[in-house]
Symmetry: D2
Subunit: 145 residues, 4 copies
Protein backbone atom coordinates (compact mmCIF):
# COMPACT_ATOMS: atom_id res chain seq x y z
CA UNK A 1 0.00 0.00 0.00
CA UNK A 2 1.03 3.61 -0.44
CA UNK A 3 3.15 5.06 2.33
CA UNK A 4 1.23 8.33 2.23
CA UNK A 5 -2.50 8.37 1.45
CA UNK A 6 -3.28 9.06 -2.21
CA UNK A 7 -5.05 12.31 -3.04
CA UNK A 8 -6.90 13.26 -6.22
CA UNK A 9 -4.20 15.88 -6.92
CA UNK A 10 -1.37 13.39 -6.60
CA UNK A 11 -3.19 10.87 -8.79
CA UNK A 12 -3.72 13.59 -11.40
CA UNK A 13 0.01 14.39 -11.30
CA UNK A 14 0.89 10.71 -11.77
CA UNK A 15 -1.48 10.34 -14.72
CA UNK A 16 -0.40 13.59 -16.37
CA UNK A 17 3.26 12.65 -16.01
CA UNK A 18 2.91 10.21 -18.91
CA UNK A 19 3.11 11.75 -22.41
CA UNK A 20 0.51 9.35 -23.83
CA UNK A 21 -1.93 10.22 -21.04
CA UNK A 22 -1.42 13.93 -21.72
CA UNK A 23 -2.27 13.29 -25.37
CA UNK A 24 -5.45 11.45 -24.33
CA UNK A 25 -6.02 14.38 -21.96
CA UNK A 26 -7.23 12.70 -18.79
CA UNK A 27 -8.84 14.70 -16.00
CA UNK A 28 -9.58 12.81 -12.79
CA UNK A 29 -13.05 13.81 -11.64
CA UNK A 30 -13.48 11.63 -8.61
CA UNK A 31 -11.55 9.22 -6.39
CA UNK A 32 -13.22 7.37 -3.54
CA UNK A 33 -13.60 3.93 -1.98
CA UNK A 34 -15.58 2.76 -5.03
CA UNK A 35 -12.88 3.64 -7.55
CA UNK A 36 -12.12 6.55 -9.84
CA UNK A 37 -13.87 8.56 -12.54
CA UNK A 38 -11.91 10.19 -15.36
CA UNK A 39 -12.81 12.44 -18.29
CA UNK A 40 -11.10 12.58 -21.68
CA UNK A 41 -11.17 15.43 -24.21
CA UNK A 42 -11.83 14.28 -27.77
CA UNK A 43 -9.27 14.71 -30.55
CA UNK A 44 -9.74 14.75 -34.32
CA UNK A 45 -7.04 12.04 -34.66
CA UNK A 46 -9.39 9.63 -32.87
CA UNK A 47 -11.78 9.34 -35.82
CA UNK A 48 -12.03 5.86 -37.31
CA UNK A 49 -14.30 5.90 -40.37
CA UNK A 50 -14.22 9.47 -41.83
CA UNK A 51 -17.88 9.33 -42.91
CA UNK A 52 -19.31 7.91 -39.72
CA UNK A 53 -16.76 9.74 -37.55
CA UNK A 54 -16.92 7.42 -34.55
CA UNK A 55 -13.99 7.11 -32.13
CA UNK A 56 -11.49 4.36 -32.93
CA UNK A 57 -11.67 1.28 -30.70
CA UNK A 58 -7.94 1.53 -30.02
CA UNK A 59 -8.55 4.81 -28.19
CA UNK A 60 -11.35 3.28 -26.14
CA UNK A 61 -9.07 0.35 -25.25
CA UNK A 62 -6.39 2.82 -24.14
CA UNK A 63 -8.89 4.74 -21.98
CA UNK A 64 -10.03 1.50 -20.33
CA UNK A 65 -6.45 0.40 -19.67
CA UNK A 66 -5.45 3.75 -18.15
CA UNK A 67 -8.63 4.13 -16.06
CA UNK A 68 -8.33 0.57 -14.68
CA UNK A 69 -4.61 1.01 -14.01
CA UNK A 70 -5.14 4.24 -12.09
CA UNK A 71 -7.96 2.70 -10.05
CA UNK A 72 -5.20 0.40 -8.81
CA UNK A 73 -2.76 3.33 -8.48
CA UNK A 74 -5.28 5.09 -6.24
CA UNK A 75 -4.84 2.22 -3.76
CA UNK A 76 -1.23 1.25 -4.40
CA UNK A 77 0.34 4.68 -4.84
CA UNK A 78 1.77 4.02 -8.32
CA UNK A 79 0.63 2.90 -11.78
CA UNK A 80 1.45 -0.75 -12.54
CA UNK A 81 2.50 -2.77 -15.63
CA UNK A 82 -0.39 -4.15 -17.67
CA UNK A 83 -0.31 -7.92 -18.20
CA UNK A 84 -3.35 -8.04 -20.49
CA UNK A 85 -6.61 -6.29 -21.32
CA UNK A 86 -10.00 -7.40 -22.61
CA UNK A 87 -12.32 -4.79 -24.13
CA UNK A 88 -15.94 -5.06 -25.32
CA UNK A 89 -17.36 -2.48 -27.71
CA UNK A 90 -21.03 -1.72 -27.14
CA UNK A 91 -21.94 1.33 -29.22
CA UNK A 92 -20.25 3.83 -31.55
CA UNK A 93 -18.64 6.63 -29.49
CA UNK A 94 -19.27 9.85 -31.35
CA UNK A 95 -16.98 12.93 -31.03
CA UNK A 96 -17.16 14.51 -27.58
CA UNK A 97 -15.91 14.10 -24.03
CA UNK A 98 -15.93 10.59 -22.62
CA UNK A 99 -16.23 9.54 -18.98
CA UNK A 100 -14.62 6.35 -17.67
CA UNK A 101 -15.52 4.81 -14.31
CA UNK A 102 -13.03 2.28 -13.02
CA UNK A 103 -12.68 0.10 -9.95
CA UNK A 104 -10.49 -2.65 -8.59
CA UNK A 105 -12.05 -6.10 -8.97
CA UNK A 106 -9.41 -7.85 -6.87
CA UNK A 107 -6.12 -6.61 -5.49
CA UNK A 108 -3.49 -9.32 -5.15
CA UNK A 109 0.09 -9.45 -4.00
CA UNK A 110 1.36 -10.54 -7.42
CA UNK A 111 -1.30 -9.62 -9.98
CA UNK A 112 -4.58 -7.75 -9.77
CA UNK A 113 -7.70 -7.14 -11.85
CA UNK A 114 -9.51 -3.86 -12.43
CA UNK A 115 -12.39 -2.96 -14.71
CA UNK A 116 -13.63 0.19 -16.45
CA UNK A 117 -16.80 1.39 -18.17
CA UNK A 118 -16.70 4.21 -20.74
CA UNK A 119 -19.70 6.48 -21.29
CA UNK A 120 -20.35 9.11 -23.96
CA UNK A 121 -21.60 12.65 -23.31
CA UNK A 122 -25.19 11.33 -23.20
CA UNK A 123 -24.23 8.76 -20.53
CA UNK A 124 -24.59 5.82 -22.91
CA UNK A 125 -22.16 2.94 -22.30
CA UNK A 126 -19.87 2.77 -25.34
CA UNK A 127 -17.22 0.29 -24.19
CA UNK A 128 -16.20 -1.67 -21.11
CA UNK A 129 -13.45 -4.04 -20.16
CA UNK A 130 -10.92 -5.25 -17.68
CA UNK A 131 -7.19 -5.42 -17.27
CA UNK A 132 -4.83 -7.68 -15.38
CA UNK A 133 -1.94 -5.84 -13.75
CA UNK A 134 1.38 -6.85 -12.24
CA UNK A 135 1.20 -5.59 -8.66
CA UNK A 136 4.17 -7.29 -7.04
CA UNK A 137 6.31 -4.73 -5.16
CA UNK A 138 8.94 -3.29 -7.58
CA UNK A 139 11.91 -4.49 -5.51
CA UNK A 140 10.96 -8.08 -6.25
CA UNK A 141 10.74 -7.46 -10.01
CA UNK A 142 13.76 -8.93 -11.77
CA UNK A 143 13.34 -6.84 -14.90
CA UNK A 144 12.49 -9.80 -17.10
CA UNK A 145 8.81 -9.22 -17.73
Amino acid sequence: MAETPMTLEKLQQLITREPFNRWINFTILKMDADGIEVKTAWREEWVANPDRRHTHGGILAAIIDVAADYAIAAQLGRPVPTIDIHVNYHKAAMPGDLIAKAKVVRMGGQFSTAEAYVYDSESALVASGRGTYFTMPPKRVNGKW
Copy 2:
Protein backbone atom coordinates in the same frame (compact mmCIF):
# COMPACT_ATOMS: atom_id res chain seq x y z
CA MET B 1 -16.64 -11.98 -50.13
CA ALA B 2 -15.18 -9.06 -52.06
CA GLU B 3 -16.59 -8.57 -55.54
CA THR B 4 -13.17 -7.68 -56.94
CA PRO B 5 -10.00 -9.31 -55.62
CA MET B 6 -8.21 -7.26 -52.96
CA THR B 7 -4.79 -5.84 -53.81
CA LEU B 8 -2.15 -4.51 -51.43
CA GLU B 9 -2.66 -1.02 -52.92
CA LYS B 10 -6.42 -1.10 -52.34
CA LEU B 11 -5.95 -2.39 -48.78
CA GLN B 12 -3.45 0.43 -48.14
CA GLN B 13 -6.01 2.94 -49.44
CA LEU B 14 -8.70 1.53 -47.14
CA ILE B 15 -6.41 1.64 -44.10
CA THR B 16 -5.10 5.14 -44.85
CA ARG B 17 -8.64 6.44 -45.34
CA GLU B 18 -9.15 6.42 -41.56
CA PRO B 19 -7.73 9.45 -39.68
CA PHE B 20 -6.72 7.35 -36.66
CA ASN B 21 -4.85 4.90 -38.90
CA ARG B 22 -3.02 7.81 -40.56
CA TRP B 23 -1.97 9.01 -37.12
CA ILE B 24 -0.67 5.52 -36.25
CA ASN B 25 0.97 5.61 -39.70
CA PHE B 26 0.34 2.12 -41.04
CA THR B 27 2.19 0.81 -44.07
CA ILE B 28 1.07 -2.56 -45.40
CA LEU B 29 4.20 -4.57 -46.19
CA LYS B 30 2.69 -7.85 -47.29
CA MET B 31 -0.67 -9.45 -48.08
CA ASP B 32 -0.95 -13.12 -48.97
CA ALA B 33 -2.89 -16.28 -48.17
CA ASP B 34 -1.36 -16.37 -44.67
CA GLY B 35 -2.52 -12.87 -43.73
CA ILE B 36 -1.02 -9.40 -43.70
CA GLU B 37 2.07 -7.67 -42.35
CA VAL B 38 1.99 -3.98 -41.42
CA LYS B 39 4.56 -1.49 -40.18
CA THR B 40 3.95 1.49 -37.90
CA ALA B 41 6.13 4.60 -37.49
CA TRP B 42 6.74 5.54 -33.86
CA ARG B 43 5.47 8.84 -32.39
CA GLU B 44 6.63 10.76 -29.32
CA GLU B 45 3.02 10.83 -28.06
CA TRP B 46 3.16 7.05 -27.63
CA VAL B 47 5.51 7.22 -24.63
CA ALA B 48 4.04 5.82 -21.41
CA ASN B 49 6.49 6.31 -18.54
CA PRO B 50 8.72 9.33 -19.41
CA ASP B 51 11.80 7.78 -17.74
CA ARG B 52 11.52 4.31 -19.19
CA ARG B 53 10.06 5.62 -22.47
CA HIS B 54 8.29 2.43 -23.52
CA THR B 55 5.27 2.53 -25.86
CA HIS B 56 1.88 2.74 -24.15
CA GLY B 57 -0.16 -0.46 -24.16
CA GLY B 58 -3.15 1.40 -25.59
CA ILE B 59 -1.17 2.00 -28.79
CA LEU B 60 -0.20 -1.68 -28.99
CA ALA B 61 -3.86 -2.64 -28.49
CA ALA B 62 -4.83 -0.29 -31.32
CA ILE B 63 -2.19 -1.77 -33.63
CA ILE B 64 -3.43 -5.30 -32.87
CA ASP B 65 -7.05 -4.31 -33.49
CA VAL B 66 -6.27 -2.60 -36.82
CA ALA B 67 -3.93 -5.36 -38.06
CA ALA B 68 -6.44 -8.11 -37.19
CA ASP B 69 -9.31 -6.12 -38.72
CA TYR B 70 -7.45 -5.58 -41.99
CA ALA B 71 -6.47 -9.26 -42.17
CA ILE B 72 -10.24 -9.77 -42.41
CA ALA B 73 -10.61 -6.82 -44.83
CA ALA B 74 -8.04 -8.47 -47.11
CA GLN B 75 -10.52 -11.33 -47.54
CA LEU B 76 -13.82 -9.51 -47.20
CA GLY B 77 -13.07 -6.31 -49.12
CA ARG B 78 -13.88 -3.93 -46.25
CA PRO B 79 -12.90 -3.29 -42.63
CA VAL B 80 -15.45 -4.56 -40.11
CA PRO B 81 -16.80 -3.44 -36.71
CA THR B 82 -14.87 -4.74 -33.71
CA ILE B 83 -16.96 -6.64 -31.16
CA ASP B 84 -14.14 -7.13 -28.67
CA ILE B 85 -10.37 -7.47 -28.34
CA HIS B 86 -8.02 -9.32 -26.01
CA VAL B 87 -4.38 -8.19 -25.80
CA ASN B 88 -1.40 -9.72 -23.98
CA TYR B 89 1.67 -7.62 -23.25
CA HIS B 90 4.91 -9.56 -23.40
CA LYS B 91 7.78 -7.08 -23.30
CA ALA B 92 8.31 -3.30 -23.20
CA ALA B 93 8.19 -1.89 -26.75
CA MET B 94 10.91 0.75 -26.98
CA PRO B 95 10.74 3.69 -29.43
CA GLY B 96 11.07 2.59 -33.05
CA ASP B 97 9.13 1.02 -35.90
CA LEU B 98 6.88 -1.88 -35.02
CA ILE B 99 5.80 -4.75 -37.27
CA ALA B 100 2.44 -6.50 -36.85
CA LYS B 101 1.62 -9.83 -38.45
CA ALA B 102 -2.07 -10.67 -38.55
CA LYS B 103 -4.19 -13.52 -39.82
CA VAL B 104 -7.78 -14.70 -39.79
CA VAL B 105 -8.40 -17.44 -37.21
CA ARG B 106 -11.91 -18.17 -38.42
CA MET B 107 -14.12 -16.36 -40.89
CA GLY B 108 -17.83 -16.69 -40.14
CA GLY B 109 -21.01 -15.39 -41.71
CA GLN B 110 -21.95 -13.40 -38.61
CA PHE B 111 -18.78 -12.89 -36.57
CA SER B 112 -15.14 -13.74 -37.14
CA THR B 113 -11.89 -13.96 -35.20
CA ALA B 114 -8.46 -12.69 -36.25
CA GLU B 115 -5.19 -12.49 -34.35
CA ALA B 116 -2.07 -10.32 -34.50
CA TYR B 117 1.48 -10.41 -33.19
CA VAL B 118 3.51 -7.20 -32.76
CA TYR B 119 7.32 -7.22 -33.02
CA ASP B 120 9.85 -4.51 -32.24
CA SER B 121 12.72 -3.47 -34.52
CA GLU B 122 14.83 -6.33 -33.14
CA SER B 123 12.07 -8.85 -33.99
CA ALA B 124 11.18 -9.47 -30.35
CA LEU B 125 7.50 -10.17 -29.69
CA VAL B 126 6.17 -7.24 -27.62
CA ALA B 127 2.42 -7.89 -27.66
CA SER B 128 -0.12 -10.24 -29.21
CA GLY B 129 -3.85 -10.64 -29.18
CA ARG B 130 -7.06 -11.34 -30.97
CA GLY B 131 -10.22 -9.57 -31.97
CA THR B 132 -13.78 -10.67 -32.65
CA TYR B 133 -15.38 -8.85 -35.58
CA PHE B 134 -18.90 -8.44 -36.87
CA THR B 135 -18.77 -9.81 -40.42
CA MET B 136 -22.43 -10.08 -41.34
CA PRO B 137 -23.08 -8.37 -44.71
CA PRO B 138 -23.87 -4.65 -44.11
CA LYS B 139 -27.37 -4.82 -45.62
CA ARG B 140 -28.45 -7.09 -42.76
CA VAL B 141 -27.11 -4.72 -40.09
CA ASN B 142 -29.93 -2.80 -38.41
CA GLY B 143 -27.73 -0.05 -37.07
CA LYS B 144 -28.17 -1.03 -33.46
CA TRP B 145 -24.73 -2.46 -32.64
Copy 3:
Protein backbone atom coordinates in the same frame (compact mmCIF):
# COMPACT_ATOMS: atom_id res chain seq x y z
CA MET C 1 -37.82 -9.62 -25.34
CA ALA C 2 -39.64 -12.58 -23.86
CA GLU C 3 -43.34 -12.79 -24.72
CA THR C 4 -44.26 -13.77 -21.17
CA PRO C 5 -42.35 -12.38 -18.19
CA MET C 6 -39.57 -14.63 -16.93
CA THR C 7 -39.96 -16.20 -13.51
CA LEU C 8 -37.31 -17.78 -11.32
CA GLU C 9 -39.03 -21.15 -11.78
CA LYS C 10 -39.00 -20.89 -15.57
CA LEU C 11 -35.35 -19.81 -15.57
CA GLN C 12 -34.51 -22.79 -13.33
CA GLN C 13 -36.30 -25.09 -15.79
CA LEU C 14 -34.34 -23.64 -18.71
CA ILE C 15 -31.01 -24.01 -16.93
CA THR C 16 -31.76 -27.54 -15.69
CA ARG C 17 -32.83 -28.62 -19.17
CA GLU C 18 -29.18 -28.76 -20.24
CA PRO C 19 -27.28 -31.95 -19.26
CA PHE C 20 -24.03 -30.04 -18.62
CA ASN C 21 -25.83 -27.61 -16.33
CA ARG C 22 -27.36 -30.52 -14.41
CA TRP C 23 -23.86 -31.95 -13.94
CA ILE C 24 -22.64 -28.58 -12.62
CA ASN C 25 -25.80 -28.60 -10.48
CA PHE C 26 -27.02 -25.02 -10.74
CA THR C 27 -29.68 -23.66 -8.40
CA ILE C 28 -30.99 -20.18 -9.15
CA LEU C 29 -31.20 -18.32 -5.84
CA LYS C 30 -32.32 -14.91 -7.01
CA MET C 31 -33.50 -13.08 -10.13
CA ASP C 32 -34.23 -9.37 -10.11
CA ALA C 33 -33.54 -6.14 -12.00
CA ASP C 34 -29.85 -6.30 -11.00
CA GLY C 35 -29.27 -9.77 -12.45
CA ILE C 36 -29.22 -13.31 -11.15
CA GLU C 37 -27.53 -15.29 -8.40
CA VAL C 38 -26.82 -19.00 -8.79
CA LYS C 39 -25.35 -21.69 -6.55
CA THR C 40 -23.37 -24.73 -7.61
CA ALA C 41 -22.80 -27.96 -5.69
CA TRP C 42 -19.18 -29.11 -5.68
CA ARG C 43 -18.11 -32.41 -7.28
CA GLU C 44 -15.02 -34.52 -6.69
CA GLU C 45 -14.29 -34.49 -10.45
CA TRP C 46 -13.64 -30.72 -10.21
CA VAL C 47 -10.34 -31.15 -8.33
CA ALA C 48 -7.30 -29.85 -10.20
CA ASN C 49 -4.13 -30.61 -8.22
CA PRO C 50 -4.86 -33.69 -6.04
CA ASP C 51 -2.66 -32.42 -3.17
CA ARG C 52 -3.94 -28.88 -3.07
CA ARG C 53 -7.49 -29.92 -4.09
CA HIS C 54 -8.58 -26.58 -5.53
CA THR C 55 -11.34 -26.41 -8.17
CA HIS C 56 -10.16 -26.51 -11.79
CA GLY C 57 -10.29 -23.20 -13.66
CA GLY C 58 -12.24 -24.82 -16.48
CA ILE C 59 -15.15 -25.38 -14.08
CA LEU C 60 -15.01 -21.75 -12.91
CA ALA C 61 -15.00 -20.63 -16.55
CA ALA C 62 -18.06 -22.79 -17.21
CA ILE C 63 -19.88 -21.34 -14.18
CA ILE C 64 -19.12 -17.79 -15.35
CA ASP C 65 -20.32 -18.56 -18.88
CA VAL C 66 -23.58 -20.14 -17.68
CA ALA C 67 -24.31 -17.46 -15.06
CA ALA C 68 -23.67 -14.62 -17.55
CA ASP C 69 -25.71 -16.38 -20.25
CA TYR C 70 -28.70 -16.86 -17.94
CA ALA C 71 -28.52 -13.23 -16.78
CA ILE C 72 -29.30 -12.51 -20.44
CA ALA C 73 -31.89 -15.31 -20.57
CA ALA C 74 -33.68 -13.70 -17.61
CA GLN C 75 -34.33 -10.70 -19.86
CA LEU C 76 -34.57 -12.35 -23.27
CA GLY C 77 -36.52 -15.48 -22.37
CA ARG C 78 -33.95 -17.96 -23.71
CA PRO C 79 -30.26 -18.83 -23.31
CA VAL C 80 -28.08 -17.53 -26.16
CA PRO C 81 -24.98 -18.74 -28.06
CA THR C 82 -21.66 -17.70 -26.54
CA ILE C 83 -19.34 -15.79 -28.90
CA ASP C 84 -16.43 -15.57 -26.48
CA ILE C 85 -15.55 -15.47 -22.78
CA HIS C 86 -12.79 -13.86 -20.73
CA VAL C 87 -12.11 -15.18 -17.21
CA ASN C 88 -9.79 -13.90 -14.47
CA TYR C 89 -8.75 -16.20 -11.64
CA HIS C 90 -8.32 -14.44 -8.32
CA LYS C 91 -7.92 -17.06 -5.62
CA ALA C 92 -7.94 -20.86 -5.29
CA ALA C 93 -11.55 -22.12 -4.94
CA MET C 94 -11.50 -24.88 -2.36
CA PRO C 95 -14.13 -27.69 -2.29
CA GLY C 96 -17.59 -26.42 -1.35
CA ASP C 97 -20.60 -24.64 -2.77
CA LEU C 98 -19.91 -21.65 -5.01
CA ILE C 99 -22.14 -18.63 -5.59
CA ALA C 100 -22.10 -16.73 -8.91
CA LYS C 101 -23.64 -13.28 -9.30
CA ALA C 102 -24.23 -12.24 -12.90
CA LYS C 103 -25.66 -9.21 -14.66
CA VAL C 104 -26.08 -7.84 -18.16
CA VAL C 105 -23.48 -5.21 -19.03
CA ARG C 106 -25.15 -4.21 -22.28
CA MET C 107 -28.01 -5.78 -24.19
CA GLY C 108 -27.79 -5.30 -27.94
CA GLY C 109 -29.90 -6.35 -30.90
CA GLN C 110 -27.08 -8.43 -32.39
CA PHE C 111 -24.61 -9.20 -29.60
CA SER C 112 -24.59 -8.53 -25.88
CA THR C 113 -22.18 -8.58 -22.94
CA ALA C 114 -22.78 -9.98 -19.47
CA GLU C 115 -20.45 -10.45 -16.52
CA ALA C 116 -20.25 -12.79 -13.53
CA TYR C 117 -18.42 -12.95 -10.21
CA VAL C 118 -17.87 -16.28 -8.42
CA TYR C 119 -17.58 -16.45 -4.62
CA ASP C 120 -16.58 -19.33 -2.36
CA SER C 121 -18.46 -20.43 0.77
CA GLU C 122 -16.63 -17.75 2.79
CA SER C 123 -17.75 -15.04 0.31
CA ALA C 124 -14.25 -14.55 -1.10
CA LEU C 125 -14.11 -13.69 -4.81
CA VAL C 126 -12.42 -16.63 -6.55
CA ALA C 127 -12.97 -15.77 -10.23
CA SER C 128 -14.75 -13.22 -12.40
CA GLY C 129 -15.23 -12.61 -16.06
CA ARG C 130 -17.46 -11.66 -18.94
CA GLY C 131 -18.96 -13.20 -22.01
CA THR C 132 -20.13 -11.88 -25.36
CA TYR C 133 -23.35 -13.47 -26.57
CA PHE C 134 -25.18 -13.63 -29.88
CA THR C 135 -28.58 -12.10 -29.15
CA MET C 136 -30.04 -11.61 -32.62
CA PRO C 137 -33.55 -13.12 -32.81
CA PRO C 138 -33.30 -16.84 -33.79
CA LYS C 139 -35.33 -16.46 -36.99
CA ARG C 140 -32.52 -14.39 -38.50
CA VAL C 141 -29.83 -16.93 -37.59
CA ASN C 142 -28.77 -18.89 -40.66
CA GLY C 143 -27.21 -21.72 -38.69
CA LYS C 144 -23.67 -20.83 -39.69
CA TRP C 145 -22.32 -19.46 -36.45
Copy 4:
Protein backbone atom coordinates in the same frame (compact mmCIF):
# COMPACT_ATOMS: atom_id res chain seq x y z
CA MET D 1 13.49 -24.83 -16.85
CA ALA D 2 13.00 -28.50 -16.06
CA GLU D 3 15.96 -30.25 -14.48
CA THR D 4 15.45 -33.34 -16.62
CA PRO D 5 14.14 -33.10 -20.18
CA MET D 6 10.40 -33.57 -20.47
CA THR D 7 9.13 -36.69 -22.24
CA LEU D 8 5.67 -37.39 -23.62
CA GLU D 9 5.24 -40.11 -21.00
CA LYS D 10 6.12 -37.80 -18.11
CA LEU D 11 3.82 -35.08 -19.47
CA GLN D 12 1.01 -37.65 -19.72
CA GLN D 13 1.63 -38.64 -16.10
CA LEU D 14 1.48 -35.01 -14.97
CA ILE D 15 -1.75 -34.36 -16.86
CA THR D 16 -3.41 -37.60 -15.69
CA ARG D 17 -2.47 -36.89 -12.09
CA GLU D 18 -5.25 -34.27 -11.90
CA PRO D 19 -8.76 -35.65 -11.24
CA PHE D 20 -10.41 -33.05 -13.48
CA ASN D 21 -8.06 -33.93 -16.35
CA ARG D 22 -8.86 -37.62 -15.93
CA TRP D 23 -12.55 -36.76 -16.19
CA ILE D 24 -11.91 -34.79 -19.40
CA ASN D 25 -9.81 -37.81 -20.44
CA PHE D 26 -6.76 -36.21 -22.04
CA THR D 27 -4.33 -38.24 -24.15
CA ILE D 28 -1.18 -36.46 -25.27
CA LEU D 29 -0.61 -37.34 -28.92
CA LYS D 30 2.45 -35.28 -29.69
CA MET D 31 5.05 -33.09 -28.00
CA ASP D 32 7.73 -31.31 -30.00
CA ALA D 33 9.38 -27.91 -30.46
CA ASP D 34 6.14 -26.50 -31.89
CA GLY D 35 4.02 -27.40 -28.87
CA ILE D 36 1.71 -30.23 -27.91
CA GLU D 37 -1.31 -32.02 -29.34
CA VAL D 38 -3.90 -33.62 -27.06
CA LYS D 39 -7.04 -35.67 -27.62
CA THR D 40 -10.16 -35.74 -25.43
CA ALA D 41 -12.82 -38.46 -25.26
CA TRP D 42 -16.37 -37.11 -25.33
CA ARG D 43 -18.77 -37.56 -22.41
CA GLU D 44 -22.56 -37.39 -22.30
CA GLU D 45 -22.35 -34.82 -19.45
CA TRP D 46 -20.80 -32.35 -21.93
CA VAL D 47 -24.05 -31.80 -23.83
CA ALA D 48 -25.36 -28.24 -23.70
CA ASN D 49 -28.72 -28.02 -25.48
CA PRO D 50 -30.35 -31.51 -25.33
CA ASP D 51 -31.95 -31.13 -28.78
CA ARG D 52 -28.95 -29.80 -30.63
CA ARG D 53 -26.51 -31.87 -28.51
CA HIS D 54 -23.43 -29.67 -29.03
CA THR D 55 -20.60 -29.64 -26.46
CA HIS D 56 -20.87 -26.98 -23.75
CA GLY D 57 -18.53 -24.00 -24.11
CA GLY D 58 -17.32 -24.47 -20.55
CA ILE D 59 -15.80 -27.81 -21.57
CA LEU D 60 -14.09 -26.24 -24.58
CA ALA D 61 -12.72 -23.48 -22.32
CA ALA D 62 -11.36 -26.13 -19.96
CA ILE D 63 -9.70 -28.02 -22.83
CA ILE D 64 -8.06 -24.80 -24.07
CA ASP D 65 -6.83 -23.94 -20.56
CA VAL D 66 -5.37 -27.40 -19.96
CA ALA D 67 -3.78 -27.70 -23.43
CA ALA D 68 -2.18 -24.23 -23.19
CA ASP D 69 -1.01 -24.91 -19.62
CA TYR D 70 0.64 -28.20 -20.59
CA ALA D 71 2.32 -26.59 -23.62
CA ILE D 72 4.09 -24.52 -20.95
CA ALA D 73 4.60 -27.59 -18.72
CA ALA D 74 6.35 -29.31 -21.64
CA GLN D 75 9.01 -26.61 -21.43
CA LEU D 76 8.97 -25.81 -17.72
CA GLY D 77 8.57 -29.29 -16.25
CA ARG D 78 5.38 -28.55 -14.30
CA PRO D 79 1.86 -27.20 -14.86
CA VAL D 80 1.41 -23.57 -13.77
CA PRO D 81 -1.36 -21.46 -12.18
CA THR D 82 -3.73 -19.82 -14.67
CA ILE D 83 -4.04 -16.04 -14.33
CA ASP D 84 -6.73 -15.64 -16.99
CA ILE D 85 -8.11 -17.17 -20.17
CA HIS D 86 -9.82 -15.82 -23.27
CA VAL D 87 -11.82 -18.22 -25.46
CA ASN D 88 -13.50 -17.70 -28.85
CA TYR D 89 -16.22 -20.09 -30.00
CA HIS D 90 -16.24 -20.68 -33.74
CA LYS D 91 -18.58 -23.56 -34.48
CA ALA D 92 -20.77 -26.04 -32.59
CA ALA D 93 -18.66 -29.01 -31.44
CA MET D 94 -20.78 -32.12 -31.92
CA PRO D 95 -20.29 -35.31 -29.86
CA GLY D 96 -17.00 -37.05 -30.64
CA ASP D 97 -13.29 -36.89 -29.91
CA LEU D 98 -11.70 -33.44 -29.96
CA ILE D 99 -8.09 -32.56 -30.76
CA ALA D 100 -6.37 -29.52 -29.21
CA LYS D 101 -3.11 -28.11 -30.54
CA ALA D 102 -1.32 -25.77 -28.14
CA LYS D 103 1.88 -23.76 -28.17
CA VAL D 104 3.69 -21.19 -26.06
CA VAL D 105 3.28 -17.65 -27.40
CA ARG D 106 5.82 -16.16 -25.03
CA MET D 107 7.62 -17.64 -22.04
CA GLY D 108 8.49 -15.09 -19.36
CA GLY D 109 10.17 -15.24 -15.96
CA GLN D 110 7.03 -14.04 -14.17
CA PHE D 111 4.06 -14.67 -16.46
CA SER D 112 3.68 -16.37 -19.81
CA THR D 113 1.13 -16.71 -22.62
CA ALA D 114 0.12 -19.87 -24.48
CA GLU D 115 -2.61 -20.49 -27.02
CA ALA D 116 -4.69 -23.48 -28.13
CA TYR D 117 -6.92 -24.43 -31.05
CA VAL D 118 -9.60 -27.13 -30.70
CA TYR D 119 -10.71 -29.21 -33.69
CA ASP D 120 -13.58 -31.67 -34.06
CA SER D 121 -13.32 -35.16 -35.56
CA GLU D 122 -13.68 -33.66 -39.06
CA SER D 123 -10.76 -31.26 -38.39
CA ALA D 124 -13.00 -28.19 -38.26
CA LEU D 125 -11.88 -25.50 -35.81
CA VAL D 126 -14.53 -25.31 -33.08
CA ALA D 127 -12.86 -23.02 -30.53
CA SER D 128 -9.56 -21.27 -29.89
CA GLY D 129 -8.10 -19.09 -27.21
CA ARG D 130 -5.21 -18.15 -25.02
CA GLY D 131 -4.24 -18.20 -21.40
CA THR D 132 -1.90 -16.16 -19.24
CA TYR D 133 0.02 -18.24 -16.70
CA PHE D 134 2.05 -17.50 -13.60
CA THR D 135 5.50 -18.93 -14.37
CA MET D 136 7.63 -17.49 -11.58
CA PRO D 137 9.63 -20.26 -9.85
CA PRO D 138 7.54 -21.78 -7.01
CA LYS D 139 10.04 -20.91 -4.28
CA ARG D 140 9.31 -17.22 -4.88
CA VAL D 141 5.55 -17.71 -4.66
CA ASN D 142 4.24 -16.46 -1.31
CA GLY D 143 1.01 -18.40 -1.48
CA LYS D 144 -1.13 -15.32 -1.94
CA TRP D 145 -2.11 -15.67 -5.59
